[in-house]
Symmetry: C2
Subunit: 703 residues, 2 copies
């Protein structure tokens, strides 16, 4: 959608699928540009501009300014670079810039100049049952850029340009047939088939106004294409921007990018992207239309588009010994396949490429599962059988952790950041498997994981209580991996209301969902005894949550322990899984768990109040006792509220959507789409993939 003039300055990822690379661009006066495997915007710049009749260059403000310069610029003063009294270049003023931000395109316009970044995405073909050409098309690590200049009102030839710097690297210039090509370190580069001059120099200005006669000055950090628009005409150039990492991409476990199967080097990538540009552009426009046509507000569409841009930037489609390995990196933290993110990105991946869900679940089983024992925190000296669970993540910064270990979890911590998330990741595996299996009907996967599902049930129940007679359906026993400490949840930076795992109603609602999923899956497998056991735990769990309801306050306290007064939104999270599994009865207020559903509806209605779980700006506050709210979880819970709990309040919802857009555009201007906000300002989980829970909104029925 076309953004308001005051909202055009913010960074967004522009990324191919599965290449863990991005052309990050959009914030005025900030560094950005191309980078590979980086947890934040690149250190370079993007130079798009034109030359006026006096030879002055006018550029979009897409490179770093000093903070003083930036302040002057943003406040509307023109920033001029006067060399010996003669003005040579000028930034196009913020107020003149239009931005049309869509699901797969991002277009800036001003002063007759248009700069469009095209990042097509579409279902990634399952390597098990797709052709080489489909895979090649999908994994090609490139995006397209179109720069157009309207010279219709001018009687002279005018130059316009597109350039990049990638921080402290140098460039090489290739002449390859009709194509012009500029690359840096054989890893990143750009190419065009249009008629241009390729330049490399210290700055784009020194390239266009050079005092020497060598277009490609190999010490220069800026490279670009310069085109000319004839008088009385409009001219555009199409550029492929590509990435390529050869050989091993990861440590600890040697893998390479999947695209190595289909492309031999960066020039190959760039050539292919240009050759297939029409198909790519068609895909991008199809996505744009899809979002356009969704019956959602512009603010909602913005959040879907923005989160999708960031998601793809974190994705890494690898090949490990001939087999695919799907990894989503954790934004700025760069942890790999963090499971408590996987479970939230599940819905996006189920919509586009369910095989990546299966792939990650299998990776967890094969490489990152473990067995522990459990203990009662009141008597930590005595241990009981625990069972199967999964690690928090698979490594960090392309360094795979040793088997059965995450990079994150530490022993010996009692409900503090970096402790174990054993119970939560166990529930996550079951919930992901449940949704995957219910939606795909993949019987083969179901049969293969039968034993795992059995082990999950046993493990979940032991974490409730190893003694079946004392079970309540809720986690109360801690993993021996904590060595006498206590587990946490994904909300590691939040207070006890969401941070502590045991007796937590957020985790309880997920465990309930896991039991419900197991009930369903054992039913499919015809394992009646297990099914009964799972259902019994689900019922126990539901009852415990319902029993926790404090009728006086009208809420369920966050932790079902004496003295806890926090009220939290994520008590409802678990509802999404049976809903996405198509178990409509399970989430019906008139179904078998009707009392749970009705209680949660009452709870949510009461916490969604200003001063409790609403910020003054209308944004959602996950916990009444913590100023730390997570956009991915907000989007998820909004969907549950609207779709499952039928809690709608059009003016209130519109106000909160508007607030969340402001959080991203103003509160995370530099870091593209971010997750954790304190009073509307991103404080962590920046440049993050998880916010694609927004894609659930695409399923919302009107009314």
């Amino acid at each position: 959608m076309q953004l308001k003039k005051r909202d055009t300055s913010f960074h967004a990822h522009h990324s191919p699928m599965g290449a863990h690379s991005s052309l990050t661009c959009g914030m005025h006066g900030a560094n950005g540009g191309i980078a590979m495997e980086k947890g934040q915007p690149a250190e370079g710049g993007v130079f798009v501009g034109y030359e006026d009749a006096n030879g002055v260059l006018h550029s979009f403000p897409f490179s770093g300014l000093s903070s003083a310069e930036r302040e002057r610029f943003v406040s509307g003063e023109s920033v001029e670079n006067t060399g010996k009294g003669v003005e040579k270049e000028r930034l196009i003023p913020s107020r003149s810039i239009s931005r049309d931000y869509r699901w797969a395109t991002d277009t800036f316009s001003a002063e007759g100049l248009t700069f469009e970044m095209i990042t097509p995405f579409f279902p990634l073909p399952d390597p098990d049952n797709s052709s080489a050409s489909e895979q090649r098309f999908a994994c090609c690590p490139a995006l397209l850029v179109k720069v157009s200049f309207d010279n219709t009102k001018s009687a002279v030839v005018r130059r316009f340009f597109f350039g990049l710097s990638a921080g402290d690297t140098r460039w090489a210039c290739h002449a390859a047939g009709k194509a012009s090509m500029l690359t840096t370190r054989d890893r990143m580069g750009m190419s065009t088939l249009d008629e241009v001059e390729s330049v490399i120099d210290f700055t784009i200005e020194s390239a266009l106004h050079r005092n020497h006669a060598t277009p490609d000055f190999l010490l220069g950090k800026v490279a670009g294409f310069v085109a000319t628009a004839p008088p009385r005409s409009r001219k555009s150039i199409l550029i492929a921007v590509g990435f390529f990492k050869e050989g091993n991409a990861t440590y600890g476990r040697k893998t390479r990018y999947w695209y190595n199967r289909y492309f031999k080097d960066l020039p190959d990538v760039l050539r292919y992207a240009l050759k297939n540009a029409d198909r790519y552009i068609a895909e991008a426009h199809a996505r744009d239309r899809e979002l356009d046509q969704a019956r959602l507000s512009d603010n909602q569409k913005f959040l879907i588009a923005h989160s999708t841009h960031s998601y793809w930037g974190s994705t890494e489609w690898l090949e490990d010994n001939g087999e695919p390995r799907w990894v989503v990196n954790e934004g700025e933290y760069l942890m790999m396949n963090t499971f408590d993110l996987t479970v939230d990105m599940l819905f996006f991946e189920m919509r586009f490429n369910p095989w990546t869900v299966r792939n990650v679940l299998e990776q967890f089983v094969r490489d990152y599962s473990y067995h522990d024992r459990v203990f009662d925190p009141a008597h930590p000296g005595k241990s009981y059988p625990g069972g199967l669970s999964f690690t928090h993540d698979m490594g960090v910064m392309n360094q795979f952790s040793p088997p059965a270990r995450s990079s994150y979890e530490l022993a010996g911590l009692d409900r503090a950041c970096f402790s174990y998330m054993t119970c939560e990741q166990l529930a996550n595996w079951v919930c992901c498997a449940g949704v995957y299996l219910a939606r795909t009907g993949d019987r083969d996967f179901l049969r293969r994981q039968r034993k795992i599902l059995e082990a999950c049930l046993e493990s979940l129940q032991n974490r409730d209580n190893p003694d079946p007679r004392q079970r309540t359906g809720i986690m109360k026993f801690e993993s021996s991996r904590t060595r006498g400490g206590g587990e946490i949840t994904t909300y590691d930076s939040l207070d006890h209301s969401l941070g502590q795992a045991r007796n937590n109603i957020y985790l309880a609602s997920k465990c309930w969902a896991a039991y419900v999923a197991l009930d369903h899956l054992f039913g499919l497998l015809g394992m009646e005894e297990r099914q009964r056991a799972a259902r019994s735990s689900a019922e126990l769990c539901a009852r415990s949550i319902v029993d926790g309801f404090d009728a006086e306050r009208g809420v369920i306290p966050a932790v079902l322990e004496p003295g806890n007064a926090s009220a939290i939104i994520p008590a409802i999270e678990g509802l999404i899984f049976p809903h996405e599994m198509g178990l409509t009865q399970v989430v019906s207020p008139r179904g078998p768990y009707g009392k749970l559903i009705r209680t949660l509806r009452q709870h949510l209605g009461n916490v969604l109040q200003p001063g409790v779980c609403l910020y003054p700006d209308g944004g959602w506050k996950l916990s009444s006792t913590a100023d730390n709210s997570w956009m991915s979880k907000i989007a998820l819970c909004q969907h549950i509220a609207r779709t499952i709990l039928k809690i709608k309040d059009a003016p209130r919802d519109a106000k909160s959507d508007a607030a969340h857009v402001r959080w991203q555009i103003k509160g995370s201007e530099f870091h593209a789409c971010s997750d954790q906000f304190r009073s509307g300002v991103a404080i962590g989980s920046k440049y993050y993939p998880r916010i694609v829970t927004t894609v659930l909104w695409m399923n919302q029925k009107p009314g």
Copy 2:
């Protein structure tokens, strides 16, 4: 030598040979540590310390402090980190630190703790005639570190440690038999066979005083080994610090590090280094003794040691299609085999591994030579036959330039930085070849390069004047590659006195040396006509320089053009080549060029005066008209002055050596050994390899 207490704070490279990697360490309160292929100190730190009886950690100050902290620290205040009122760590005060800085070792001591970095170097075996085991030993990309702790006065066990951070990377911990091993990105790491605990954590303090129970916290940026010293004893641990880059190391031209032939990965490197530690340490100590025993002052020894440390850090021993390719990177600029550096590092390489000189000369002939035409700058429209020359460099930042192109040189510039150095690089090739051939007697190389030598003579003469009747032995014609501009010399950042190539007496003295070398080489080849031609040009050149002598001022002006009043030291540079070729008569005041020698002696005596070419501190100032002096050239010219021109003045020489040591220690404290200084402060060419011209001093005869 043992440095004065006030002189212990400065960075030095600690590098294996040919791996373009360094453990840069030594400046108090500054970042540093391990990095590969980087033109400046790393962004990490080095953590060496011990724990006192109260559990407080005391560390050498080898990681970055904020500028405020650093100021307090350097001024002598103790820097304490108080966690909740309890002191947990303290930096060992600057004033307590001793530093023993030698040719191949660098040792810090304080408070019973000793930290020694051992960087053995020795002749690199010629791949053409050496065994695999010799090559393996020489190319192993590792250095050794020894940390000792004196616990003899204590009755309790005490811990001490060695740790590294490498900026924003994470670590992996390997258990491999007896060895403990910590690596980052499979590229850099450390290992020890001694009994230690391997730790990874956010800081070394959090690793030793951890509040959790996981020694290797995989999100940590700091990794290290923790050892224990029993009561009443002294304990030391030996650590190998290694580097490994797999696969292609360069772009434009695909090459890999030579060590890939002999090592399969980083663990292999680390194991080998530890296994062969005794041999490596013996080599290091042999070098230390050699320098110790040289009849030189401590200041001179310091400069030799410091420049050698920086040289190896810039070296890159590559394999290109099975053949060796020797590259020295240009310090902070990272240009590859910059020829005007090669010719200065010649003397160091001739001492240790002459084959690298041959290798670089052959690379220039095969890949980086070109033919041009020349023109008279008074009539730039008309061109004449020019001839063969060589590029300024072979690329930058591991990006090889296209054939016959440097990364540096630009067309269309008239005697400005980045113009061509055609004549100088031509003279450089001849001078290098002359020294190489005279010292090795490599007849095979001589025969193979016969045609090149002929082409060099013709080209040199055409740059004097294409019309033989108008020759003066001095370059007056410009290369057509400048496209009507004008050539420069290596002194690109200096004023016209050294920057302009034509009629420059610095370049003239090098051209003279080139003609003298050709005279000698054609003699060896029995090519009498060519020999006569070369000698004739040498004589013409010598006469022109002598004729340029301004008897009134007692100096030869820098540029033999009207109106030039600069006086420069490098007029004498050319003398080094015949001297190193063993042509003692040529450089004798009573020899065939006696008049030139005597005139240069007079010139130098007159410019080496305060206010002319001496700074107030006694340091040498290359040009009377520019405050920009280059340590590599100073060292070279000092050697020529003392050894060839017999200009000695013990107090003055001692004062200048002391000044140059201060320039490096105080004026380039962060950037290790640097080349360009303005009034004693490094302003460019930092972290630089070229200063090894100091090695010539090792040849000085006493008296």
